[in-house]
């Protein structure tokens, strides 16, 4: 299925579970040195380089991280007509014009807060007298991807600090500046942006990603921490986490589930992104040694065994960038969706034929393992290009599902049943 013309320097057959992953993943450098006669051969990449593992093939050289347009799409330019849902579901634009709209959180009074990664703003979609409007809640922030809400307070996670604004919904017209509550965080750009959420234990959960694609790191990275809502009492809750950008708690038994993005450049088909379940504090999910529960990393996994790590409960597809996820706890959708997990797959870049770019629904067995995964919202990919990219999902109080799209700077609303006037 794959033909790579260049021979890898080292061919490491680490636990040959997958024939497909024995190719050039370990070629740390171009196998053929630069053409010019006097040119010295390229030295190996230094440890920690994000480019380690990239095979020296033409197809691989075409792949680069995808960046969204900076200017949000005008409401009439949104790809609404291209997006597909199962029969009986309806789609509308909830709000638009929010550059790089990412994580979602709903306030007690119905304000929907929206974080961003590539701009400096947190937005608020305000519902007033049946009309929705977008306000800038905070600006001048650095990669403020994460938002969470509890008891009147908005929590915001920037690249390397968490802050809060009390009584935010009473001050939407002139919100005070956020107050920092926690900044004992690394400042790495790679996987430094944060999704945050507040658990049923009333603690704030804050992930710290691996500082690169495939790297050994110190004990301040590759984990999910939790802390009190004032930023005190921080502790490591889960280990071996490469880059989680979404989590939620099973309403049945309060267990935490989180998505995690697998490494790049291993192959087109593996590793798959993970859906993980934490059954006890301190569990290790394997990164950067073991991927998707059964692939030992060919560079870093020597002397390690996948048996020593907690395997994922579900595989989310290779490079699909499974990000935001929420259990469906609303009453609007059919019964079969009760307590199912909606997961936004932002979509791949590290893959010739893009995959993901959708919202899937994962249904669980009684024991909390994955029963099925089906497409729910599709159409973000067209001719191997994105017309939009879903980032986060949120179950609104009325049972509708909101989906953010950072490509277009918009939030969509999904309802079930006969379309009614959306405004409440």
């Amino acid at each position: 299925m794959m033909s790579y013309s260049t021979a890898p320097r080292r061919l490491l057959l680490a636990g040959a579970l997958f024939g497909a992953f024995t190719f050039a993943a370990a070629a740390q450098q171009p196998a053929s040195p630069p053409a010019a006669g006097a040119t010295p051969a390229a030295a190996p990449l230094p440890p920690g380089s994000p480019l380690i593992g990239r095979p020296d093939s033409e197809a691989a050289a075409k792949l680069a991280p995808v960046a969204p347009p900076p200017i949000p799409a005008a409401p009439d330019k949104l790809p609404l007509a291209k997006l597909k849902l199962p029969p009986g579901f309806n789609l509308e634009v909830y709000a638009a014009g929010m550059a790089n709209a990412r994580s979602l959180a709903e306030g007690d009074k119905g304000t929907v807060f929206v974080g961003s990664r590539l701009v400096d703003k947190v937005y608020g979609i305000v519902n007033k007298d049946g009309k929705r409007s977008v306000k800038v809640i905070a600006s001048g922030l650095y990669r403020p991807n994460g938002v969470a809400f509890k008891n009147g307070t908005l929590y915001i996670a920037e690249l390397s600090k968490v802050s809060k604004i009390d009584k935010i919904e009473d001050n939407l017209d002139s919100p005070p500046k956020p107050t920092m509550i926690y900044d004992n965080l690394p400042k790495d750009e790679a996987h430094g942006w944060k999704f945050i959420a507040i658990g049923p234990d009333n603690k704030l959960y804050v992930p710290v990603g691996q500082p690169g694609n495939n790297v050994l790191h110190d004990d301040a990275h590759g984990q999910i921490r939790r802390m009190n809502l004032d930023g005190t009492g921080a502790e490591v809750y889960a280990l071996g986490v490469r880059n989680s950008v979404g989590f939620d708690w099973n309403p049945e038994n309060k267990q935490m589930y989180f998505t995690d993005n697998g490494r790049d450049w291993l192959s087109e088909s593996v590793p798959e992104d993970e859906l993980n379940r934490v059954t006890k504090m301190g569990e290790d999910f394997g990164a950067p040694y073991c991927w998707q529960g059964n692939i030992i990393d060919q560079e870093l996994g020597w002397g390690k065994n996948c048996k020593d790590y907690t395997a994922p409960v579900g595989l989310m597809g290779p490079h699909t960038a499974a990000l935001g996820m929420r259990f469906y706890t609303g009453n609007m959708f059919p019964k079969s969706y009760k307590n199912a997990i909606f997961i936004a797959r932002h979509g791949s870049w590290n893959k010739s034929k893009k995959e993901g770019g959708d919202v899937v629904v994962v249904k669980l067995n009684k024991d909390g393992t994955v029963k099925s995964m089906e497409p729910f919202m599709t159409g973000f990919l067209e001719d191997n290009k994105y017309v939009g990219r879903p980032v986060d999902v949120m179950v609104a109080k009325d049972g509708s599902l909101l989906v953010s799209d950072d490509w277009n700077g918009a939030v969509y609303r999904i309802t079930y049943g006969k379309p009614k006037v959306a405004a409440q």
Binding site: A42, L51, A61, P70
Partner: protein, 188 residues
């Protein structure tokens, strides 16, 4: 610096006039960035042949002060979204900068070439460094600007739109930056 101030003074005149063609408005850009896309001002990039999506991102970042350089922040302050698009599309149509007449010291060129392969610059910027989409053309960019930019990405004093270049530059040394800039500026 005087050149920049002149340009700014010019800018306030040019942009208040309104109803001008993009070519007329771009005269202001040329004051610092050079006519026909090739810059002769130190530490100031050539714009010719730049990828329109990349140029749009940079102009947006200047307007939103996500990228800090006062003359450009001032210039872009009053730009509408359509202005940003018009300028970035226009920049892409300017002729790409030419390589300097001197071919460069062969030993340094070889070192630069090896480094460009080692760090896989060609992966995103293309083998001819012409860039693609949100990834900029860097071929024959000014050497001083390339060196400055790489150093700023390394210490994260220039924030990228995303963190890719900060990530890549983590392991590149200062000496290597000089050789990379030397080579890419003279690439043929």
């Amino acid at each position: 610096m005087r050149k920049i101030i002149t340009a700014l003074a010019f800018a306030s005149i040019a942009f208040s006039a309104g109803a001008e063609t993009i070519e007329e408005r771009a005269v202001t850009c040329f004051a610092c960035h050079g006519e026909h896309g090739q810059s002769e001002t130190e530490n100031t990039p050539s714009l010719g042949g730049q990828q329109a999506p990349y140029a749009l991102i940079q102009l947006f970042m200047f307007r939103e002060k996500l990228r800090t350089f006062e003359p450009m922040n001032e210039t872009a302050k009053s730009f509408t979204d359509d202005d940003l698009r018009a300028f970035s599309d226009f920049i892409a149509t300017l002729p790409k900068p030419a390589p300097p007449a001197d071919a460069g010291d062969p030993a340094r060129m070889a070192r630069g070439q090896a480094l460009a392969h080692q760090y896989l610059c060609n992966n995103c910027h293309n083998p001819d460094f012409s860039g693609k989409e949100n990834v900029p053309r860097i071929a024959n960019q000014r050497e001083d600007y390339l060196a400055k930019t790489l150093a700023e990405y390394k210490d994260n004093s220039r924030h990228g739109y995303d963190g890719t270049m900060a990530d890549v530059m983590g392991s590149v040394t200062k000496e290597q930056i000089a050789d990379l800039a030397y080579y890419i500026a003279r690439f043929r």
